[in-house]
């Protein structure tokens, strides 16, 4: 497979996943705000932090951290490259170049989703119409992913799509845990205690992990339990360890992947063995920070091996 095509497919999956994650994030936050007393609510500001866009947001005109401004920023702002409209546009642009390898329906559906998000993004700002919009986006992305799993033959194309999806997921899950844990202390204060369950439930819901957590944990929803579940569960598809494990399995079928596999399994071990119970807020933040740094370096290594073609042509002459 051409490096450019592999690179494109990897990012197509990442942008698509990002589109869905933004919908989940905004949806779960909307619900959380309705459940908490106003003076305890963490506000919308953490979403800017989760998406790592503090600097860009601070340069905007309506940077008042109000619900309206932040939702508009995350969903409808074409100028912000990490917004939902930007993510789906980029995914669609890539899908356009990959029409020779993707199923025809995929192009039509992603095109339709792109049009829908572009036309309807502003209705998401209104709390009343937001829910239906977000559901349709989440459903649309899941349909696209299902289509890929359902009709693309196993092979390099599917491998790079799967890598992109799992790495983006692991990244987003760790961001959500990081920011929420900072706002909702793992060892909570007396005033928050009555709402602790509500808060952590909303974190799980933003990742559609509430039911799976209940089946897995069979106990009260509490901070350390949720953090461990989201970072280190081996079976929940949005848990970091599970994502990394899936990425590893995909890599086995790709050439020259040994260093990438080793890297992921090392990172996975660190997550699994972490003693989360003993960590305070700062330590947990540092721990997750190291994880994200590791993912970023892994991403560079992936690009070096598959996308950049750093080895000079003449060096491989005759192969």
């Amino acid at each position: 497979m051409l490096s450019r095509v592999a690179d494109n497919l990897y990012w197509l999956a990442r942008y698509l996943e990002r589109t869905e994650n933004l919908a989940r994030l905004v949806g779960a936050t909307t619900n959380l705000m309705l459940d908490l007393p106003r003076h305890l609510a963490p506000g919308w500001q953490p979403l800017v932090k989760i998406t790592g866009s503090e600097l860009i947001y601070s340069e905007r005109e309506d940077r008042d951290f109000s619900e309206k401004s932040i939702v508009r920023f995350l969903i409808a702002d074409m100028k912000y490259g990490g917004s939902m409209v930007s993510s789906i546009s980029r995914a669609r642009e890539i899908a356009r170049t990959a029409r020779d390898i993707m199923p025809r329906e995929f192009w039509e559906r992603i095109n339709a989703l792109h049009l829908y998000v572009g036309e309807q993004a502003t209705v998401a700002i209104d709390k009343f119409t937001r829910h239906a919009f977000l559901e349709r986006v989440t459903g649309g992305v899941q349909q696209l992913i299902g289509m890929l799993e359902g009709v693309v033959s196993e092979g390099e194309a599917l491998s790079f799509l799967s890598l992109g999806r799992n790495i983006e997921r692991a990244d987003m899950t760790s961001r959500i845990v990081d920011v929420r844990a900072a706002a909702l202390p793992v060892n909570n204060t007396a005033e928050l205690r009555p709402f602790e369950t509500v808060l952590w439930m909303s974190v799980l819901r933003s990742l559609s992990g509430y039911q799976m957590y209940r089946m897995h944990a069979r106990e009260r929803v509490h901070g350390v339990g949720v953090v461990r579940f989201l970072l280190a569960d081996e079976h929940f598809p949005r848990a970091c360890v599970c994502c990394l494990h899936r990425a590893e399995e995909v890599l086995h079928s790709l050439p020259h992947s040994e260093p990438l596999v080793r890297w992921l399994s090392r990172t996975r071990r660190v997550l699994t063995r972490a003693r989360l119970e003993g960590l305070d807020q700062v330590q947990l933040h540092e721990f997750i920070d190291r994880f994200q740094l590791s993912l970023a370096r892994w991403n560079d290594e992936l690009a070096r091996i598959y996308f950049l073609g750093e080895i000079k042509p003449s060096a491989t002459a005759g192969t």
Partner: protein
């Protein structure tokens, strides 16, 4: 409501399906009868079904817009096929093969001994001012001596039924994917007809193209790696590039995917390292192929590609420089070329043309601008033309000046009234003008597509068939009436 063919408007020109009075031509008889049984209402339903299929299959072409970038539009297809009898087609096919052979011999000769010039058949001065002559190609020997592996020749039919060659596109002719897709769609829309009539199939083109490309691989390549080189998604023919790569099962590459090593070999960057490329079906114009040799601001090409091609480590189709024969002035010499190289008379005539370099002919052209079509020698796509009968006195004065200043750059032709064919327009079958672009593959053999891409002007009386200017297309049937 049944179709009243006797009410089909007769025009002063040749109709491909209907003879004056409303009868059907032999090859079109079963089609015309079948259409009558359907009636116009049912035809409209099927036209809508075809349009839905085209959207569903994602058959598009790209149009540029000043603002807003480029837009993908659904490919316009009129479901009423254009029919040609096999017997007539066989003569056209032979004429196109003859033409492609002569053109390839001409290009090869021009980059070598130039015997045709020494023999006094082709004037030296025309060569000197040719915009598409590439000095870099002199002395190069492409495999099999073939330069124009894919040629798209435009055919038109005049009022008396004569088929003329209007031009030969030897650079990067496009449209073949639409010929193939039109057939797919029409088969879905009129399945009954394909069962009842012997319509020759068209779908083996991609495998023939691949066979042609493999045949020109450098001799040392065992199982040659063939790729399609595209300028990228913003090119108007990107759909076709992607389609052909997919149909041939080869990689679709952009310039940035390729690199030329110190060994003058072309490689493509894959996830498994750099891999050698043997044959490039390039859909990038000459001047953008290699910034080391041609336009140095081109980001579409590959630095060193010409070096590799000259060394023979990679084959390019069409070969650089093949466009030297894609010139309106050279076109006027094709019948002479056929005589010179093949010792045969041209089977298909050219449209009669006046050379503005010849004082007598120029005088005639200048005196009759209002009746003639004036074409610049090196443009394609209908740019920079004067349509005499529709021109203003001002435009004619401007062209008179242009011709006098640079006679080499212009030829003039009488207006040929293109033939028509029944076309669905607002619920009626009306005659619309059309042309035909068959594609000729030259490798070990010379092969012609079965029919070609029929383009039709959708506006009444219009002779403009380009899809970017509101033209449509049709499926082209070569029908064997003996069976």
């Amino acid at each position: 409501m049944p179709i009243a063919w006797e009410e089909y408007p007769a025009t002063s020109t040749f109709d491909e399906l209907i003879v004056p009075g409303g009868g059907a031509r032999d090859a079109a008889r079963s089609l015309v009868e079948y259409l009558s049984t359907l009636g116009v209402g049912e035809l409209m339903t099927r036209q809508r079904a075809a349009e839905a299929a085209i959207r569903g299959m994602g058959i598009t072409f790209t149009v540029y817009h000043q603002e807003g970038g480029s837009i993908d539009r659904s490919w316009p297809l009129d479901i009423i096929p254009r029919v040609i009898a096999l017997q007539e087609w066989q003569r056209i096919e032979a004429g196109l093969q003859q033409r492609a052979r002569a053109l390839n011999l001409f290009i090869n000769d021009i980059y070598h001994a130039q015997q045709i010039v020494h023999a006094g058949v082709f004037p030296r001065e025309f060569l000197a001012d040719s915009a598409n002559f590439r000095p870099q190609c002199v002395g190069i020997n492409p495999p099999l001596g073939v330069w124009a592996h894919v040629c798209g020749s435009d055919l038109i039919r005049g009022a008396d039924g004569t088929v003329f060659v209007l031009e030969d596109n030897l650079r990067v002719p496009s449209g073949v994917s639409y010929m193939l897709e039109n057939r797919q769609v029409v088969k879905r829309v009129f399945p009954e007809l394909f069962e009842a009539t012997t319509i020759l199939p068209v779908d083996d083109y991609p495998s023939k193209l691949l066979e042609t490309l493999r045949a020109i691989a450098p001799p040392e390549a065992g199982a040659p790696e063939v790729v399609v080189l595209t300028p990228g998604i913003y090119n108007s023919a990107y759909f076709e590039h992607s389609y052909l790569a997919q149909q041939m099962g080869v990689e679709l590459v952009e310039g940035r995917d390729l690199a030329v090593g110190d060994d003058d070999i072309v490689y493509m960057r894959t996830i498994d390292g750099w891999k050698r490329v043997d044959v490039i079906y390039r859909r990038v114009d000459d001047l953008f192929l290699d910034p080391e040799v041609f336009r140095d601001d081109s980001s579409l090409g590959v630095p060193g590609l010409m070096r590799a091609w000259c060394r023979g480590t990679v084959s390019l189709a069409n070969a650089p420089g093949a466009g030297v024969a894609d010139d309106k002035l050279v076109y006027t010499f094709v019948p002479a070329m056929i005589r010179y190289y093949l010792n045969e008379e041209a089977i298909l005539p050219n449209v009669p043309s006046y050379l503005c370099t010849d004082p007598e002919q120029r005088a005639y052209v200048l005196a009759h601008l209002a009746e003639l079509v004036v074409k610049p020698a090196n443009e394609s796509g209908g740019y920079g033309m004067l349509m005499g009968p529709k021109s203003t006195a001002e435009e004619r004065a401007q062209f008179a000046q242009l011709i006098s200043q640079n006679p080499r750059n212009y030829i003039a032709q009488p207006v040929i009234s293109l033939s028509t064919t029944p076309t669905l327009v607002d619920g009626l079958l009306e005659p619309r003008h059309l042309d035909l672009r068959p594609f000729i593959l030259s490798g070990r053999e010379t092969q012609v597509t079965t029919g070609g891409l029929t383009r039709v002007a959708m506006r009444k009386g219009s002779l403009v068939v380009n899809s970017s200017q509101g033209g449509g297309s049709k499926d082209t049937w070569i029908v064997d009436t003996a069976l």
